[in-house]
């Protein structure tokens, strides 16, 4: 597989702003529509736009069924002229932004609301796992019903065996993200985590232990995509989209996932942005498990394949460290509100680049990278994506 970038138009002129987080709760009897409604309400209030001025909508949710995005339009009284439904979990944020950006550039929509929201009832996680995909129903859920824990246990064990990673290496990621989360009022986890506590946690799916796993919860994340001029006219703090990639089902013949599709397209990503990995001030990587963070460091070009363990040993991943990563705490410490987990890095990156990150701000951040990873339909995650965002002048 080789990346092709012939004839691709740039993403110039696209602004992203108004990061909204509807506070997470562990369990809620509210449905997805309730969370989407709260997110839309906040987008309207904080942008100062009339509700009708939002003429594009993308919705990402696992718990919306039997509705799709179109059901949301009637539920919330919206009449967009551009609509998309992107229920691709951890990749949904990057994919929604890519599509919305093109719609805005083409004039198919002026202002696109990108919303991800999921409910979490007491038993809904189990029900979602059992019916997540045809392949999951036939070939993974009947095997212990561990959900993604068992798949990423295989991947983590395989990665440890192949590249000599230890639990301490993964622990560094989890501990640093918890430190970041303590400065994020929206994070579900409010207490510090030490490496000793990480190592002593109960096993979930060996070699994964409790703090390697995200906590499913209910909540929403959202942002607006519009033209740079429009954002300026409205006086909205915003960031610019410098590059975006996505890839699905890459390296399908690899027997176990030890590299992701970012590798295929990363040269394209950096070429679009006109910068290399060394120019990135922070990374919001997808973090359903620490091993995935390490894979992204490698596959997005911050280090070579297999150097992930050494990389995290020699970097400080906190917001004030020398390689700020998942400055919101990430899903590991903020919680995973279904598809909203795929938006978490984007809303955080917008905050970091618009001076809205409060106590966890990355000093002098100009350029940030956000990556997504989604959809374990059988034995691996299928969707990879990444964007590079830049502080607006």
């Amino acid at each position: 597989m080789t990346a092709r970038r012939s004839g691709r138009a740039s993403y110039a002129g696209v602004a992203v702003g108004v990061p909204v987080t509807v506070p997470y709760v562990r369990y809620s009897t509210d449905g997805a529509h309730a969370y989407i409604g709260r997110a839309m309400e906040a987008l309207v209030e904080r942008s100062g736009l009339a509700k009708d001025a939002i003429d594009g909508l993308t919705v990402s949710s696992f718990s919306l069924a039997p509705d799709t995005a179109v059901g949301v339009t009637q539920h919330l009284g919206l009449s967009p002229r551009w609509l998309d439904h992107i229920p691709t979990g951890g990749a949904s944020g990057v994919m929604a932004l890519r599509r919305a950006a093109r719609a805005v550039q083409a004039g198919d929509a002026d202002v696109v609301a990108c919303v991800a929201a999921d409910a979490n009832h007491v038993d809904s996680f189990r029900q979602m796992l059992g019916g997540f995909s045809h392949f999951a129903r036939d070939a993974s859920y009947p095997y212990g019903s561990g959900g993604p824990n068992s798949i990423f246990a295989f991947i983590t064990a395989s990665y440890m065996r192949s590249y000599g990673a230890t639990r301490e290496d993964f622990g560094r990621i989890a501990v640093a993200q918890r430190a970041n989360a303590l400065k994020n009022p929206s994070a579900l986890f409010k207490t510090p985590l030490t490496l000793e506590q990480y190592l002593a946690a109960r096993p979930i799916a060996e070699p994964l232990h409790l703090f390697d796993c995200v906590m499913p919860c209910a909540g929403a994340e959202a942002f607006l995509v519009l033209s740079e001029e429009r954002a300026r006219d409205l006086g909205l703090p915003h960031v610019l989209l410098r590059g975006a990639i996505e890839r699905h089902n890459a390296y399908a013949d690899d027997p176990v996932l030890l590299r992701g599709g970012w590798r295929v397209d990363r040269d394209d990503l950096y070429a679009q942005a006109g910068v290399g990995p060394e120019a990135i001030d922070f990374v919001q990587s997808y973090d359903d498990y620490p091993v995935v963070v390490m894979l992204q460091f490698e596959d997005l070009g911050f280090c070579e394949k297999g150097e992930g363990p050494a990389f995290v040993r020699t970097r400080t991943l906190t917001h004030d460290g020398n390689f700020p990563t998942n400055t919101s705490g990430g899903q590991l410490s903020a919680g995973q509100a279904g598809c909203a987990g795929g938006f978490l890095g984007l809303t955080e990156a917008i905050r970091q680049l618009t001076g809205a990150a409060g106590a966890r701000a990355v000093k002098d951040a100009q350029v940030g990278l956000v990556s997504g990873f989604g959809m374990v339909t059988y034995d691996r995650c299928l969707c990879t994506g990444a964007v590079i965002l830049e502080r607006a002048p």
């Binding site: 189990r126 009947p142 212990g144 064990a157």
Partner: protein
């Protein structure tokens, strides 16, 4: 090495009784082809009649050439264990009652990567040395086919593996609680499987013997 099956201890009536539940049984129509073969003792996967690619999970079109001509074909199940895990948490009531539970990720020599229930006699891969397994398809308690990673060679007391017994219906050491259950004397006895009942003075003591676990023995010979 698998521990031979021992007679169960007397149940403590105060303790919670394990729920009667079944493993997840939902399968798509196409995937039932694997169950149909497993019911006759075979491990079959779909093979593309145009390009010979072996498919898994079960599909409706070839992942290599898109042909719809996929034919269920017997497999020898030889493969390498790529990774193993022990679940200490499950989202399904059946497995929750039976934790910890071992699983394996196996690259079949025929091509696909399959997730399997892992037999206790298969060691987890710790070094770079390949761990060979033989994958077989078995019907679970819900009547659906599941794949099991066996050691490549027969091991002692192999059929007594805890996972195998949980996945299948076995009558060994069953309790005669059912009003319709036949008394022990009426059951067919098998010299090979019988074991002396514990001596007691009263003849009214219910004996805990071992009836012939037909499913387990046939399972062994079918491998």
């Amino acid at each position: 090495v698998t521990m031979p099956l021992m007679p169960p201890r007397k149940k403590n009536p105060v303790l919670r009784t394990r729920q009667m539940n079944l493993p997840p049984w939902a399968r798509g129509r196409t995937a039932l082809g694997m169950t149909a073969a497993a019911a006759e003792g075979r491990f079959e996967l779909q093979v593309c009649q145009r390009c010979r690619a072996v498919q898994y999970p079960p599909r409706d079109a070839c992942h290599r050439c898109l042909s719809a001509e996929l034919q269920w074909t017997a497999q020898d199940g030889a493969g390498e264990l790529l990774s193993a895990t022990v679940l200490h948490h499950s989202n399904d009531p059946f497995y929750r009652e039976r934790l910890p539970w071992r699983l394996g990720l196996v690259r079949l020599d025929a091509g696909p990567t399959v997730i399997v229930h892992l037999h206790g006699d298969v060691a987890a891969p710790y070094s770079h040395e390949a761990v060979r397994v033989r994958v077989g398809a078995r019907l679970d308690r819900a009547g659906a086919a599941v794949l099991i990673g066996f050691p490549p060679e027969e091991t002692a007391n192999m059929a007594d593996d805890k996972m195998l017994r949980e996945m299948t219906v076995t009558r060994a050491f069953e309790r005669s609680w059912s009003p319709t259950a036949r008394p022990r004397s009426a059951r067919p006895s098998s010299r090979r499987w019988s074991r002396p009942a514990p001596r007691s003075s009263g003849s009214a003591t219910p004996s805990r013997g071992r009836s012939c676990p037909a499913s387990t023995t046939s399972r062994r010979s079918r491998r």
